[in-house]
């Protein structure tokens, strides 16, 4: 509850009355999260346990990180399809830096983040200087990244066996108790995103561009430059996700990644961010990502086959977006 209150104070692009309406979708998403959570707790005794809740959070990390960066892009009215395979490419690069080149883990992680930023920079350049539609620019990047990941790794996983410290980024627990570091990383990423989106000039322009790109440009803002910045930021999150997934697996898997972008976009949309741009929040995205994890986890615990999980997820997206449209019509 505290997290939500914190954002209600911060999601300040609109006035009080309008703000309340905006928050309704978030509240709705939050309420559905509680309902789904409650349902599984009743349905299965092994669902609401410390171990399983931690497990849910742990499994939210990768999708959550990707979804955070994408939230910025989607609020500008854009889209980023390259985050899934871009993440796989970053994971491979992390393996190249740390295992193949023997670079120390902290520096290797930093380089991986920067590599992700580079992917985003290229996307941003293509979208804002070459003026390609974001869908096309990032679709192309999705394929390029997928191919490069395989080429660079010779289609084989890269293991981090020499550097046990790397794996600890994800599965270790600095607090001693059984609470994975990955969740802490996600928390920090969430806080950074909330601050960026709500407290900085970057966030201000992110909303402005999505709200009305041409009016923003005519107001004297260098929209092109800021779009590059925003895509680059999303790229840094791709790099972070690459580190988190390879640390969790203890290896860089070049063939993974495809499909993560859609799950991340689903999380953003369930969280009430409009694909038309101008509206959205980080907390909404976090709730959206949690709904996806809770559903996957709960359905698994209830021994419902994997195939059905996607069916349910698809229906949840339909309901969430439809509810959002109804709300907008009433407003």
């Amino acid at each position: 509850m505290t997290t939500l209150d914190a954002t209600t104070g911060q999601a300040a692009p609109s006035g009080w009355a309008a703000g309340l309406k905006d928050r309704l979708q978030q509240l709705l998403a939050f309420a559905s999260l509680i309902v789904i959570f409650g349902f599984f707790s009743v349905a299965s005794s092994s669902f609401f346990t410390y171990g399983n809740v931690t497990n849910i959070l742990f499994s939210t990390v990768v999708i959550g990180t990707l979804a955070l960066g994408t939230t910025f892009v989607i609020i500008t009215g854009g889209i980023d399809l390259s985050i899934g395979t871009g993440m796989a490419l970053c994971a491979v690069m992390s393996g190249v830096f740390i295992t193949n080149m023997g670079i120390a883990v902290p520096l290797g992680v930093l380089l991986t983040l920067l590599f992700g930023g580079l992917i985003g920079l290229v996307n941003g350049f293509n979208v804002s200087v070459l003026r390609l539609p974001p869908f096309i620019a990032t679709l192309a990047m999705m394929l390029v990244a997928q191919g490069l990941a395989l080429v660079i790794s010779h289609s084989a996983p890269i293991y981090f066996t020499k550097d046990p410290g790397y794996v600890k980024i994800s599965t270790g627990s600095i607090f001693g108790v059984n609470f994975p570091n990955a969740v802490l990383v996600l928390l920090v990423a969430v806080v950074v995103s909330v601050v960026l989106l709500n407290k900085t000039i970057l966030g201000r322009y992110t909303y402005s561009i999505g709200s009305n790109e041409e009016a923003t440009a005519l107001s004297g803002i260098n929209v092109r430059r800021w779009k590059i910045v925003i895509y680059t930021l999303a790229g840094l999150f791709i790099g972070l996700a690459g580190v988190m997934i390879s640390a969790r697996l203890g290896s860089a898997q070049p063939a993974t990644g495809m499909g993560y972008e859609l799950q991340a976009i689903a999380a953003v949309v369930i969280g009430g961010t409009s694909l038309a741009g101008g509206k959205g929040s980080v907390v909404g995205t976090v709730i959206g990502a949690l709904i996806i994890s809770v559903l996957n986890n709960g359905l698994q615990i209830m021994s419902i086959p994997q195939e059905w999980q996607n069916v349910v997820l698809g229906l949840v997206i339909l309901v969430a977006v439809y509810a959002d449209m109804i709300r907008k019509k009433e407003a």
């Binding site: 692009p13 006035g15 309008a18 000039i201 970057l202 909303y207 107001s219 004297g220 803002i221 260098n222």
Partner: protein
């Protein structure tokens, strides 16, 4: 029997038609008669009600009162398609063509010929060829419309309109984008279309054309019928004085700005690829420089080119004595030039965001940000201050901007540029969509700003507004400056003259001098000199 005779005399009749929109009376007891076989010119200033009348005739709007008669029968139209089927074809200024489709496909859109239930290109092309042949148009059915010149695209529109067996053909400024040769081709086409069963309503501002093509001229003004005159028996000054006939507001007009005021902005030889040709003017400190002209004369384009929203293909801009090149609105803002678009809702405001965000958007980076962090409190304080000084009516600065009235939204945009410290403000239609009381407030605000030493460019389609507010008036026509008038020599007539002329050689010379004097004007337009004798205007 008598009714039928009367009916057969008038092909189309508009009787006492009124149409209002919230806050606006677009048409009031309008009447108009189109005789069989005639070309009736319909003239009026911007906003006189011509397009409302057309939208009523095509069934896009429904009249509040009054009736339409077609060939002696009451006419009721449920929509554009129904209008076409009843024999009323309208060619709008903006074409309604699908550029990727062929000529034939465009002509028969919505009623494609079928053979055994399947579309038949062959039948369609055959019928189109027949039609084009009958009309004598140099088009081929299979040409892709997007590849045609504007003039030929217009021919496609005409062919499409006439393919419905039109009895009444209405053309809205059909020659706006055509050269002289194309205009005469169009006129030939109109003459050939004219028959005892048909008639044409021809909307245009070009007086020379009205002489050439029309039998009678109907003048409307402020949504009301003014008069109808025989074209042969009238003169251009007479038509113009009918068009602008209203009396000026009693407000004191500004004195011409003193020549010793420093010049802040000088524009020379400004051209754009599409429209502007050799536009030049200068703006002095504390001056309101009005831009008058008809729709499409290029006034907005000048503003957009100036702030870098559109590309200049040639020309120099000197700002406060220094030559500058402005590539985008961000650079213009850095040079403290603010542009207030005519399309406030789409280009001026972030409607879904609150008042404070809108006021601060241009200046947030330099004034309300430390190390990238936005100081929302300072931003809101500054916004509150602007709300107070400009008298913006809003419950709070956190109100969503779309909930404000038009006048208050305009003030929000003004506040945005004042917070940015702009000293050159370009207003494009500053009072469009704003009700009368709020207009006065905007006028007062503009005067205050000018007195404080801001330099203002005011583009407006409302002549009384331009005359009342401006120290000097730049008149544009077809992408050129046709004259610059001081406030004491500007009248509705003199501005209208300059705005309705086709720029011929004399006027082009005059434009280069930056001024059109009366002898030039008189030689370019027969009768213009007589008009000047009228002491009241």
């Amino acid at each position: 029997m008598t009714a039928e005779v009367a009916g057969s005399e008038h092909l189309l009749e508009v009787r006492g038609v009124s149409k209002g929109f919230p806050g606006v009376r677009a048409l009031h007891e309008m009447h108009l008669t189109l005789r069989h076989g005639e070309v009736l010119a319909l003239v009026g200033e911007n906003g006189a009600g011509k397009s409302t009348l057309m939208k009523l005739l095509s069934g896009i709007y429904t009249a509040d009162a009054g009736e339409f008669w077609l060939a002696g029968r009451p006419l009721s139209v449920s929509g554009p398609k129904d209008a076409l089927e009843q024999g009323i074809s309208i060619i709008h200024q903006e074409f309604n063509l699908m550029p990727h489709l062929t000529v034939a496909q465009n002509i028969f859109i919505g009623r494609e010929p079928r053979v055994a239930g399947f579309l038949s290109d062959r039948e369609q092309n055959r019928r189109a060829a027949e039609l084009l042949d009958r009309l004598g148009l140099p088009l081929k059915p299979r040409q892709v419309v997007g590849n045609l010149t504007v003039a030929r695209q217009q021919m496609v529109e005409i062919a499409k309109a006439l393919s419905y067996d039109a009895r009444v053909l209405i053309m809205d400024e059909p020659t706006a984008a055509l050269n002289d040769a194309e205009v005469s081709t169009l006129h030939d086409l109109i003459r050939r279309f004219r028959s005892p069963e048909t008639g044409v309503i021809y909307i245009s501002h070009r007086m020379d054309e009205l002489k050439a093509i029309s039998d009678r001229v109907t003048v409307i003004r402020d949504g009301e019928y003014v008069d109808t005159v025989d074209t042969r028996a009238t003169s251009m000054p007479e038509v113009i004085s009918l068009m602008v006939g209203r009396t000026l507001t009693s407000e004191a007009r500004p004195q011409g700005v003193r020549a010793d005021r420093e010049t802040v902005l000088e524009v020379e030889g400004l051209c754009t690829k599409d429209l502007l040709k050799d536009v030049g003017f200068d703006l002095r400190k504390g001056e309101i420089l009005g831009f008058a002209g008809l729709m499409g004369a290029g006034r907005t384009e000048v503003a957009r080119a100036l702030v870098g929203a559109d590309k200049m293909s040639a020309g120099t801009v000197r700002l406060r004595g220094r030559q500058v090149r402005i590539h985008n609105p961000a650079e213009a803002a850095r040079h403290r030039i603010g542009y207030l678009s005519e399309d406030r809702k789409n280009l001026g405001l972030l409607l879904e965001q609150d008042v404070a965000s809108n006021i601060a958007i241009s200046s947030v980076a330099e004034r309300f940000t430390t190390f990238g962090f936005v100081d929302f409190k300072a931003m809101r304080e500054r916004a509150k201050e602007m709300v107070r000084t400009l008298g913006i009516k809003t419950p709070s600065v956190q109100q969503t901007t779309k909930n404000l009235s038009g006048g208050n939204q305009q003030k929000v945009v003004i506040a945005k540029w004042l917070v940015k410290d702009c000293d050159i403000l370009i207003f494009d239609e500053p009072t469009r969509g704003i009700d009368v009381g709020a207009k006065e407030e905007i006028y007062r605000l503009l005067n205050d700003l000018a007195e404080q030493g801001k330099s203002i460019v005011m583009i407006s389609s409302e002549l009384p507004e331009v005359l009342r507010m401006s120290h000097r008036i730049v008149v544009m026509t077809e992408g050129r400056v046709s004259g610059v008038l001081d406030s004491d020599e500007a009248t509705q007539e003199s501005v209208m003259h300059l705005a309705t002329l086709r720029p011929d050689e004399n006027l082009r010379d005059a434009a280069e001098l930056g001024l059109v004097d009366e002898s030039v004007l008189a030689s370019a337009v027969p009768g213009a000199g007589d008009d000047r004798k009228d002491p009241d205007q």
